[in-house]
């Protein structure tokens, strides 16, 4: 082939390989900016699943980032610099988190947020801790609140310890039940939630009558439920992360015609559960929720939370999981970061850490936020309450709030 011809008309192989190289190059380019601003910006790295199995289910939790960035930038940014979110895709894999965090830091991120999920956050936080970068992940495991182990990571949400407390308190003080069975998924969340419930029940002088652990790939939970019923349980505590666990539990209870009090974490609030589960199962079912996102007959949710909820539901990615979008940890994180940096008058990681550790009763969207050097969980157990599942059908819920039980 002559050089002239090569220049004039590249052959098909050349075109295809160039195209693939370009496509591959753009895919592998790493972190990319969203909500990009012109001029001098303050970059926040966002680790999230943009592809893979959990991409769309975790997307609602990043709605809070969009709202916070919009509000902060409309108010002049932080120290006059607009916020810029730099995203990197973890492909729904915890194993990718260390590399994702590294990529975000290399792209100039000065603080980090995400990923969502306890195992994902645990994988990310080791790298962010080593890099000494302020970080707020989206995990609920108690270990993530350990300020000694992870001094730069802050949990702007509740954890399984708080949920266990709320569940035990409700069983003993409100429902006046004593025989509790625990059904937990064989996962980090199941183990942590089951242990927290057992620990909290012990404080009330109770021991669970049965603890059953089911594999995450179980196809039927009736055998486990039968064992719990045979042990005499009149309250069933369910610890599952995907909604499938609740749907299989509900199907099992319905087929057994057994309707104990059913309590669990916030995965019970799924719209799928609400729309498809036997009303008999739902009648006596409760999930843990942050108090600010609940209402009672005499007390409506706060005006600030209502305005926020109205905003959250306008985002298409919130649909079906509005409640998770509203209780996401990132809104309060970004707003507190602005407050602290502006009071320090500079972006200095050690000063921010010191200020975060000294935060007392900051009025966050999710509740009153406090940290200490040792405890990096924003909320306390008394800010968690039990809410009824059926209230999701109440127009007052706005798909976001639930009625306190």
């Amino acid at each position: 082939m002559s050089p002239q011809r090569s220049l004039a008309s590249p052959n098909r192989r050349t075109v295809l390989s160039s195209g693939m190289a370009l496509a591959g190059g753009s895919l592998l380019a790493g972190a990319h900016s969203v909500f990009a601003q012109t001029g001098d910006t303050l970059k926040i790295g966002s680790a999230r699943a943009l592809t893979g199995l959990v991409a769309s289910s975790f997307a609602p939790l990043y709605v809070s980032v969009k709202i916070a960035v919009e509000e902060i930038n409309a108010a002049g940014g932080i120290l006059g610099r607009k916020l810029e979110i730099v995203e990197a895709d973890d492909e729904s894999s915890p194993a990718k988190e260390p590399a994702v965090v590294r990529r975000l830091l290399d792209s100039g991120a000065q603080a980090l947020l995400g990923p969502v999920g306890s195992s994902h956050t645990m994988a990310a936080v080791t790298t962010s801790t080593a890099a000494k970068v302020i970080h707020a992940g989206g995990g609920w495991a108690e270990e993530l609140a350990d300020g000694v182990k992870f001094p730069y990571h802050y949990q702007f949400t509740y954890n399984t310890g708080h949920q266990g407390e709320a569940i035990a308190r409700h069983i003993v003080e409100k429902l006046k039940l004593k025989k509790v069975g625990i059904l937990q998924e064989n996962s980090g969340l199941g183990e942590s939630g089951g242990a927290a419930t057992t620990r909290s029940l012990k404080k009330f002088g109770l021991e669970p009558v049965a603890v059953e652990v089911y594999p995450a790939n179980a196809t039927d939970l009736k055998v486990y439920l039968n064992k719990i019923r045979a042990a005499g349980a009149d309250a069933l505590v369910l610890w599952n992360s995907p909604v499938q666990g609740m749907l299989l539990t509900a199907a099992g209870l319905q087929s057994m015609k057994w309707y104990p009090a059913l309590l669990g974490g916030n995965s019970l609030f799924s719209n799928t559960v609400l729309e498809t589960t036997d009303p008999e199962v739902l009648k006596n079912a409760y999930g843990t929720l942050i108090k600010t996102m609940t209402y009672s007959d005499s007390e409506a949710p706060g005006a600030r939370q209502v305005a926020y909820a109205k905003r959250v539901v306008t985002f298409p990615e919130s649909k079906f999981w509005e409640i998770n979008a509203a209780i996401s940890p990132f809104y309060d994180y970004l707003h507190l970061l602005k407050q602290v940096v502006e009071s320090e008058k500079r972006f200095d990681t050690e000063r921010i850490k010191k200020a975060f550790d000294a935060t007392k009763n900051y009025p966050g969207m999710i509740g009153s936020i406090s940290f200490t050097a040792e405890n990096h969980c924003a909320l306390t157990g008394d800010q968690m309450v039990m809410a009824t599942l059926l209230s999701g059908k109440d127009p007052k819920s706005m798909h976001v709030f639930r009625q306190r039980a």
Binding site: L53, S56, E91, N186, T219, V223, V243, A251, S255, W321
Partner: protein, 292 residues
């Protein structure tokens, strides 16, 4: 409680068997394990669930559409990810990577399209998932139908392999090059096997939805146990897959009742190891040692 274990084991076992038979259909003529088989099951479930719940299609129409769509996708997979590999070398193992790549591509795409929340699909009328106490056993009409349909599918596929096309597929399975010399086109057999395997995967997904719901995690959930059923039953043996599927389902349900929490998957893997140690080719393997 033991009667519940049997019902639960047979229900799950039927699904494991169908996944294993899907593996066998593809494996026989190509010697390829399709690692995307679980994703094809999931796509069948999700496609039919969306057609039924969002577009309100009748069950049969949704089933037909899902079968056709997944069969076409499986043929596309064969053309892109398997045929080029087998064309280079029929004994090559590059299909491990290429079929895994297909599985990863599907998993990435579905994560963007669908959320993790399952779609609840009712059983097709007049069947129901409501439990009826029959002679002391709590079982639904759908569970009974699932077991019966599974056995009929296995019998039907076994009969298919007695037809001219089936014999040609078995000839290709025996010796691809010799079959070619006898005028059989192995590429055509491969394509049709992928179409059939894809359609069966979709059928498995559709049948699974009333008991397991349609979810993006469905493929992964059934893939490992279906693979174990194929291995225990003997690769290529559909009768073996039927028995092994039920063996795994019943063992799993019994271990949930008898064993300490958290060891149920281990029991299944110990069962696989135990059978393969005694019979390396599986319970019904037609593999024999050859003197050369």
């Amino acid at each position: 409680m033991w009667l519940d274990v049997i019902v639960s084991g047979l229900t799950a076992g039927s699904l494991y068997c169908l996944v294993a038979v899907g593996f066998n259909i593809l494996y026989r003529p190509t010697k390829v394990f399709n690692f995307a088989q679980g994703d094809l099951v999931m796509l069948g479930a999700m496609a039919s669930a969306l057609l039924m719940t969002q577009l309100h299609w009748p069950w049969l129409a949704a089933l037909a559409a899902a079968l056709l769509a997944v069969a076409l996708l499986a043929v596309l997979e064969e053309r892109i990810a398997v045929a080029p590999v087998l064309a280079r070398s029929s004994d090559g193992t590059a299909w491990i990577i290429t079929t895994l790549a297909v599985a990863m591509i599907i998993a990435n795409l579905v994560g963007k399209v669908w959320g993790a929340d399952p779609i609840v699909v009712p059983a097709p009328a007049p069947l129901s998932t409501d439990v009826l106490p029959i002679a002391g056993i709590s079982v639904s009409s759908y569970q009974i139908a699932l077991v019966v349909v599974t056995v009929l599918i296995v019998v039907g596929i076994e009969r298919l392999y007695r037809s001219l096309w089936g014999k040609a597929a078995l000839a290709v399975a025996e010796d691809r090059d010799a079959a070619l010399l006898r005028g059989i086109d192995p590429r055509s057999i491969s394509r049709w096997s992928f179409a059939l395997g894809g359609a069966l995967a979709a059928l498995t997904g559709v049948l699974a939805t009333p008991v397991l719901n349609a979810a993006t995690t469905l493929g992964g959930l059934l893939l490992l146990k279906g693979f174990a059923a194929a291995a225990i039953g003997g690769l290529g043996s559909n009768r073996g897959a039927l028995i092994a599927g039920y063996l795994i389902g019943l063992t799993e349900a019994a271990s949930a009742l008898l064993l300490s929490p958290g060891y149920h998957n281990t029991v299944m893997l110990v069962l696989v190891l135990g059978v393969l140690m005694v019979r390396p080719g599986g319970l019904f393997s037609s593999l024999e040692a050859r003197s050369v």
